[in-house]
């Protein structure tokens, strides 16, 4: 069963990475990041189960806290983008290139 759990986690990470790369909507990019973080968390819990050590579950606590702070700052940036340009299209936000 270990391989099946790892394959599900690989699917989640790959789907999240693809979503970050190919979508243009900033909100969906944030959701794809969450999916990637959850895939990594699933791998942590799987390893914690098969190795028989509870440390992986404690690591998931930290991962969840960091994901929550990342979402808060990401959503603040999204609100800033929307206030400034009335858009959440990431192609409109290439001002660093100028």
């Amino acid at each position: 069963m270990l391989t099946q759990y790892m394959v599900v986690s690989a699917l989640l990470i790959a789907i999240g990475a693809t979503g970050v790369m190919i979508r243009r909507n900033f909100m969906i990019v944030l959701m794809s990041l969450e999916i990637m973080i959850n895939g990594a968390g699933l791998l942590l819990i799987t390893m914690s189960y098969y190795i028989g050590n509870v440390s992986g579950q404690v690591m998931f606590l930290f991962v969840a806290a960091v994901a929550a702070s990342e979402t808060a700052v990401g959503l603040a940036i999204a609100v800033m983008m929307y206030k400034r340009k009335k858009s959440v299209d990431i192609n409109d936000f290439s001002i660093l290139r100028k």
């Binding site: 243009r24 909100m27 440390s55 606590l61």
Partner: protein, 167 residues
């Protein structure tokens, strides 16, 4: 029986993740994301991590998903729905994602560990939460406090970013 339940939950999870990737409407993508989070919580229950399953439901499906939905409702609906679905250069990034998937699956198949400990040492007196608390406050006290500081900094950063005046 356990394998059947696993395959059902894994299918639901992967369908939720694909829904986030492919759906046009961002509100629907958020609902698919909640579906994927609940599926992962089910997988956690199957891995005997009940405390983390509850944490998953409360923090991800409860807090983060609601935060994303509320932020989208602040914005104009036509603005966030009227975007083109994919980047015009979607092909090579998608190939990159497929390559990442193939690589990770190859690693997952080649990976072997000693399964003798599977499912053991994850609870004292039948309680998973008690053991997590004991390990957290005995061995991981400093990372726990640093996590608290990270949360505080993120809170302040979000407030400062959104309250700043736009010229």
């Amino acid at each position: 029986m356990e394998a059947l339940v696993f395959y059902i939950i894994a299918f639901i999870t992967v369908v939720g993740a694909l829904g986030v990737l492919l759906s046009k409407n961002p509100y629907r993508a958020a609902l698919f994301m909640i579906l994927a989070f609940f599926g992962i919580a089910g997988l956690f229950v199957m891995l005997h991590a009940q405390f983390n399953a509850m944490l998953q439901v409360i923090v991800y499906a409860g807090a983060i998903a609601v935060m994303i939905m509320l932020t989208m409702m602040v914005m104009d609906r036509r603005t966030i729905e009227g975007l083109k679905r994919f980047n015009s250069q979607w092909f090579w990034p998608a190939m990159l994602g497929a390559g990442l998937l193939a690589d990770l699956i190859l690693l997952a198949i080649k990976f072997h560990i000693n399964m003798g400990n599977a499912g053991k040492n994850l609870a004292i007196n039948g309680s998973n939460t008690q053991l997590i608390g004991e390990v957290l406050f005995k061995h991981y006290l400093l990372p726990f406090e640093i996590t608290a500081i990270i949360l505080l900094v993120a809170l302040l950063g979000a407030v400062v970013l959104t309250k700043r005046d736009i010229k």
